[in-house]
Symmetry: C2
């Protein structure tokens, strides 16, 4: 079969012939119909990820068919029994195990779920990794509730769009930040109330009411200002920190307002099931940026690296 593999660390992924997966007890072979890109895939091809193994098929997100059943894959493998945190065996699909950028995949039955029926296969393919990450950080970790004021930083990211959509569906008042007014407008079209362009100096001084939940993936020097934007009892959830370490956090504000700073990554099997149920109940459909054919995946990678996308980049198999 054809697949997109890591050929040499630091080189672009290679579209090539590989062996078909073999039948195994407790596993099913899925004919993949669509997949989607995540930043993780880009980082792996650039050698910016631990444990890179040459020859591995890339891709964490995928949907497909088994004997006419439409299925979606949970890309969080071996989470374990503890809802609080993943086990030390935890893996993300697509390294070290072969991923979804292929014609077929063999995967343990416990990670196979029915595809949501209210959306098409392209949209379903966009859901797994980013939807799971968004669900856990917003709902399992930060316990966002109807009526909460929610701030989502970096409105363009794959996860943050799901956070916006999920928070809107919950009945939260959602605000965003972005470096781009256009992305703020897009977020508003998803149901956000308004946004702040963080390229403006001291944008946080223009925020006129504080937040109950803040979801961040930037971190760095700006994180200290997010704390000042917190209502009493607020929760700050984060699942990344592209701008690095947190500095100058004011503990007096944190303890007096009883703020919680909650690290989060991916999600448990229960989170994945709950996320699928939530998405179906609220008829949420992922926002797609562009779709490409799997064999043109290099164009999809270029699109992701440009940072211009709004929504998920999907590959049709």
């Amino acid at each position: 079969m054809k697949a997109l593999i890591i050929d040499k660390v630091g080189h672009p992924a290679k579209w090539t012939d590989v062996d078909m997966p073999v039948e195994k007890v407790g596993y099913s072979i899925i004919r993949l119909t669509a997949s989607a890109l995540n930043h993780r895939d880009v980082w792996i091809t650039k050698g910016m990820y631990p444990g890179i193994k040459e020859g591995v098929i890339l891709g964490s997100d995928g949907v497909g068919e088994i004997d006419g059943r439409s299925v979606i894959i949970n890309p969080g493998l071996y989470w374990g029994d503890n809802e609080r945190v993943q086990s030390d065996k935890f893996e993300v699909l697509g390294l070290p195990q072969n991923g979804t950028f292929a014609e077929y995949i063999s995967i343990s039955d416990e990670y196979i779920y029915d595809q949501p029926t209210h959306m098409g296969m392209e949209e379903s393919a966009a859901l797994p990794l980013a939807g799971l990450t968004a669900y856990r950080v917003l709902i399992s970790r930060c316990d966002a509730r109807s009526g909460d004021r929610v701030l989502v930083t970096g409105a363009g990211g794959g996860v943050s769009q799901f956070v916006i959509q999920f928070a809107v569906a919950l009945g939260c008042e959602v605000y965003v930040t972005s470096s781009s007014d256009e992305k703020i407008d897009r977020a508003v079209s998803l149901g956000a109330k308004s946004g702040y362009n963080y390229r403006e100096d001291e944008w946080y001084k223009n925020v006129d009411a504080k937040f109950d939940v803040i979801i961040d993936s930037a971190g760095g020097d700006g994180f200290q200002h997010l704390i000042k934007l917190c209502n009493p009892g607020a929760r700050i959830g984060f699942y990344g920190a592209t701008l690095g370490k947190y500095q100058n956090l004011n503990p007096q504000i944190l303890f007096w307002r009883q703020i919680s700073i909650l690290g989060s990554t991916m999600g448990s099997d229960r989170d994945f099931q709950d996320m699928l149920t939530f998405v179906s109940t609220h008829k949420i459909k992922p926002i797609l940026d562009r779709t490409y054919r799997l064999e043109e995946a290099h164009l999809a990678f270029q699109r992701m690296e440009s940072g211009d996308q709004f929504g998920k980049i999907v590959l049709i198999h």
Copy 2:
């Protein structure tokens, strides 16, 4: 009646005659039999506290009698209905309302509870503020459980001793840090396994197994090292930060290990009731450093300022 009041901001508290409290509907007048010092009392006399009001009777901790009933006072007033955080009306007893360093106090009936029966009045007087703070941060906020490895920084503090005692009672494996080997030994006598003297350079490199719960009140530059001592799923609770802002926190460790950093202050009415039940169930008795007569309170203040105490400083009325 006699009471210890703030006479002039920045001056030592004054032992003087004041008016008896007057009867009010929904309030009871308690004949106070013992009280205890908190750092808050010292900071107020030094003018290092917001909203200082001259003429106010100091003191947050107190026990006493009403018609032969032995009672203990919850010093956290007007918490409100939200378990997550105190309301904006929240006050600590002893500023702006008249406190417990007096012969009598008038207090709303909702803050009056039965004194624990397994300990004397001096020990009971030592319990309220520090016990409440310890209970909330360790149990309500950090959800410490039997078998958890718990690190308590600054073993000498009034709150941290309760944290040690409560964690030992829960069945946790408790470790401490202190600037004093003697205080570490005292913590071990309370049931801690062992401790680390933080005056030793890079003491945290000698820690051979990580922690599920860390309770801190120091903050500052050292806080970054506590994060590295966290097990996956760990909770760091804090209720103060004498060394100031947090610097250089590594977000990758925080989100990958799904660590929670949880600010906490005092506790709700439910926390107070739960704390009393917990202390009674486990027959926990506060550690007393020294007792003084109320009219010699200036000696008690000196003792607290010396930083040499281990356990609560109690005043007998």
